[in-house]
Symmetry: C2
Subunit: 190 residues, 2 copies
DNA sequence: TTGAGAGGCTAACGATCGTTCGGAAGGTGG
DNA sequence: CCACCTTCCGAACGATCGTTAGCCTCTCAA
């Protein structure tokens, strides 16, 4: 893919995150690229192509980040690593992450189905960590792992709204992990 | 406000939640109301009015729900009550809640500023619970209450994506509360 | 030196957008 | 019975939408 084409995708990610997919016109994109709107069609076939591309980039980034998490060792450490990985992607590719979390729903047809499949798979990989943690006895035996995963994923999926690039995401992830593991209650009242 | 006007607001909330504000045309709204699109202007001055109204309805609903939470008694119980209140609003007014969480950003000018103020205030009310819990010794003394509130608010704000009307929201809220308070770790490894 | 491809321009297309307007039907209160 | 108010219709408005077309101008490899 040419440099110009890559730049267009980045610009699309930025504008889609900022103003929404339907709130961003081809004219807006062209203006941001410093070009007449008709010229964009040297690179794409339709506006929907750009949404698809950014959404796929998001899928790829989040899955790749999870791939780097060890699949052995203490589950607790893997949960911490998974949260770190997720928040790192959000901070480093905030626009792409925003499209991945919020704008994907304007995809249509097969592309939408394919995206949803990948998104479900991502959440399932997350969920598996909590299930395994309970089964291996690292997490409490009576843990409702579906709810636990939902809580962790809520924090992960909501992060794009407040996380700003340059944040110390590893520390943030660790604070979340500590909270999830040990809770907020004082030792005395436990 | 006339019955017809109320119906229009409800329809707007539904369509904005379903297809997004910019993804919903005046024509879509008119069709859903069984009317020509010009006819809608007997009720509104602009499409933006509808977004503003639904967003305000969301603000009002969430604040009212928090108002019903006692301002004394054990903080832990008030946190549980606050989560219950929030999830109940999401489940009972899913469309309005969706606009409150996701579509508000298409508000413009003063209205946007006013909404943001109300939204900040809502989150601040939430945050105060965790601060107070720490100060009163009900939550651990070394609690990072900003992060704790962020985690709880993440769960609350993300709920519109998966909560379906008719869910037993009180139970869900209690599961979240239990997780937040006592964590996921097994007693043995604590 | 030539030719091909990449990237951009201008102009225009049909469609759809949000909004306006004058008029008419129907019900309500005086 | 009349005057009014609400609600809707039908038609049109200018603006903007995504997309297409033909043509021009570089760059660079053959």
């Amino acid at each position: 893919m040419s440099a110009r084409r890559t730049e267009l995708t980045r610009t699309a990610a930025r504008l889609f995150a900022e103003k929404g997919y339907h709130g961003t016109s081809i004219g807006d994109l062209a203006e941001a690229m410093g070009v007449q709107k008709g010229s964009l069609y040297a690179h794409i076939e339709s506006k929907a192509d750009l949404l698809w591309e950014v959404a796929r980039e998001g899928s790829a980034a989040f899955h790749a980040a999870l791939d780097a998490v060890a699949d052995e060792g203490p589950v607790v450490e893997r949960i911490r690593a998974a949260l770190r990985a997720h928040l790192r992607v959000v901070a480093e590719q905030l626009d792409v992450a925003t499209v991945f979390v919020r704008e994907w729903r304007y995809l249509e047809g097969e592309r939408r189905d394919e995206f949803v499949t990948e998104r479900r798979r991502y959440e399932e990989r997350f969920r598996a960590l909590f299930r395994e943690g309970r089964e291996l006895g690292e997490l409490r035996a009576d843990l409702d792992d579906a709810t636990a995963a939902l809580l962790a994923l809520s924090a992960a999926n909501w992060a794009y709204t407040w996380l700003r690039p340059g944040s110390e995401t590893d520390e943030l992830a660790d604070r979340f992990t500590a909270l999830l593991l040990d809770g907020m209650r004082g030792y005395a009242s436990r």
